[in-house]
Amino acid sequence: MGKNTGGEAETVDQFLDSSLESVDSAENLVIEVAQKAGFEEEDLHKIGMSVRESMVNAVVHGNQYSAHKKVHVSVSKGPDRLTIVISDQGKGFDLDALPDPLADNNLLRNCGRGIFLIRAFMDDIQVRRLTPNGTEVTLTKYLVRK
């Protein structure tokens, strides 16, 4: 695990196995950083769930549980935001090609809601293809100070 703290900014990153245990680890790691950043209970739940959904995509669909592939998780705490970057070594996917889970003919599908929930819970999601292979997903949540 790497840790770089400077002033208010802090970045923690980990390389995790392609397993469901890593999904829990990443969620716990990010929630810990988000808590320190000052996010409250409801936002912590939304952030944690978004990380879970993104990690499941990386482990299950990206790396397909491969023992030879890792998932890189990086979480950065800035003065006004939390940024999480999750990268896998899989074939990648096209964000715009994902079916709409709210469409009538998709409503009763038993999968395909992960990215939709991330979009609902986070302030921003960016997806980038990595070379030679892999997908990098960047999630951002802004801290609203009361």
Binding site: V56, L102, L108, N110, C111, R113, L117, A120
Partner: protein, 114 residues
């Protein structure tokens, strides 16, 4: 804690008390196995009590949908009871809240089965 399921019979309705987390892996597969087992045994009136469900992810939502369609395809009914705010919010944003028959009162939910 993952998920804990316990089933009790109220008349001809099987009430499944679900507690814990319904997430990809142990949680969602336990729910899937339990529902399939009940359908295989011919139970067609199933009430899922989600009052003690602390967390559900997209995989868990998928299992609820899958259970709903599996039971319906066998001519049965699956209803939901006592959603927590988080589960209710999730079903609302995924437009599934109106797909499921959701109740807050167990006795009323049981009476509602045909």
């Amino acid at each position: 804690m993952s998920v804990k399921l316990s089933t009790r019979q109220v008349g001809d309705v099987s009430v499944v008390d679900v507690a814990g987390r319904i997430t990809l892996g142990e949680g969602s597969s336990a729910l899937r196995d339990s529902l399939r087992d009940m359908v295989t045994k011919g139970q067609k009136k199933i009430l899922l009590n989600l009052a003690e469900v602390s967390y559900i992810d997209s995989s868990g939502i998928g299992e609820l949908v899958s259970g709903f369609t599996t039971v319906a395809n066998q001519g049965g009914q699956l209803k939901l009871l006592s959603l927590t705010k988080r589960v209710k919010d999730l079903l609302q944003i995924t437009k599934l809240y109106t797909v499921f028959d959701v109740h807050d009162d167990e006795a009323a939910a049981i009476r509602n089965f045909k």
